[in-house]
Symmetry: C2
Subunit: 84 residues, 2 copies
């Protein structure tokens, strides 16, 4: 089942990594802030994990972004609508 969403999980992981790096945080410090295991965060960033809703909320809080930005890689929906 999760293979069907391989692309989505890869994109989500890439988004988390991009935002984390933009914020100048290491995996170590983000995993500490988000109360997640560092190995879990590393696997999540490489698309190997299917995070729960509350894990997404913890990551968004720790990165000081909205859950929407976390899922869309730091791009606000209003930015998308302006491009269409």
């Amino acid at each position: 089942m999760t293979n069907h969403f391989r692309k989505d999980l890869d994109a989500l992981g890439q988004n988390i990594r991009t935002i984390r790096e933009k914020k100048g945080l290491s995996q170590e410090s983000l995993s500490f802030k988000a109360d997640l295991h560092r190995t879990y965060l590393s696997q999540l960033e490489s698309g190997q994990r299917n995070p729960s809703y509350t894990t997404l909320l913890k990551l968004a809080n720790a990165l000081s972004v909205s859950i929407f930005e976390l899922i869309n890689g730091g791009i606000k929906e209003s930015d998308i609508e302006n491009q269409e």
Copy 2:
């Protein structure tokens, strides 16, 4: 840990129910469309479940809404920004 997010899970469940009812779908038909067990959907709608990212994607697809609308209860981010 999940208790900390009790309110968020309740709100998410309520959003899913509101959108489902707006679309005129029963729990039976939505759970079939989203390839989820009906009991799981019922518990999810009452805030007793912490769905994974791919489950959120399946629900959003089945309800023909974006994952953002699913999380925000059918309100587009641009609607929120206009209110602020």
